[in-house]
Symmetry: C2
Subunit: 139 residues, 2 copies
Amino acid sequence: MNAYERLTEYGIKPSVQRMAIMEYLMTHFTHPTADEVYMALCDTIPTLSKTTVYNTLKLFVDQQAALMLTIDEKNVHFDGDTSLHSHFLCRKCGRVHDLPYSGKKREARELMIEGHAVEEIHHYYKGICKECSEAENEN
Amino acid sequence: MNAYERLTEYGIKPSVQRMAIMEYLMTHFTHPTADEVYMALCDTIPTLSKTTVYNTLKLFVDQQAALMLTIDEKNVHFDGDTSLHSHFLCRKCGRVHDLPYSGKKREARELMIEGHAVEEIHHYYKGICKECSEAENEN
DNA sequence: ATTAAAATTGTAATCATTACAAACTTGAAG
DNA sequence: CTTCAAGTTTGTAATGATTACAATTTTAAT
């Protein structure tokens, strides 16, 4: 599936900017911030505005074509993979890694928890990632 | 346990400001923002500075005497209850509710997940809370 | 009392995000 | 083709939470 199909599938009218941003999300699994998306695309689309990046990412999230991660208190991160999975934030390198969802499968299907209507599940883990731990042990 | 004991237990030297802020966290289960803590205390401690509230809450979190919740992209919230539990953010009223931790108990004790050293677990749920759903159904 | 370290304060800066209005595109209708 | 309105993009300016920093105050030991 390409970016064009992905957008139309989620009811988003495609445009050059929207396709470029969706394309970026679909090919990079780095959970970028809005600024990182902007920086990556502003060379190929010189007229791109940061406002457009913010607006577009917000649109994707509203249409559920992307996830907004609040794992990091400094910046919001975005994820083009909307399947149920968890995230790990490394305190050292700041990267966000994917983890399999380890909650009870039943819970993920539940619409209600303790009387509250659940629409989104976010499982975040923080610590030192594998790569940073290994780099440290090398001395 | 009072605020004084709680602070010393976590290796934090008590002061009027620190005790007031810890006392507030220990008696309010609203997961306040730094600003809410400041607003609640600035009447009784008229000289209180917002910087002190930010510094003190950060100190509590560093000493693991409080949790920093990044469930809301607008504001960081704080929680004086450091036991393992989950949180629910209501999209309507904006309140953060406590939920029991529903992950596998085994996982909570694991230090490693997929090679990453886990130091913090945050399980966040978002949707419409019980109170807001009921209020809506009354018409 | 003295004094150095620690804590608090107020102001100013930072910086991610949003508001807003102008400019541009698009696509349908004539 | 034009025209026009709706939707999209853009740049600039504002917002608002958080932090930096330097000055002041407090603490606790000598």
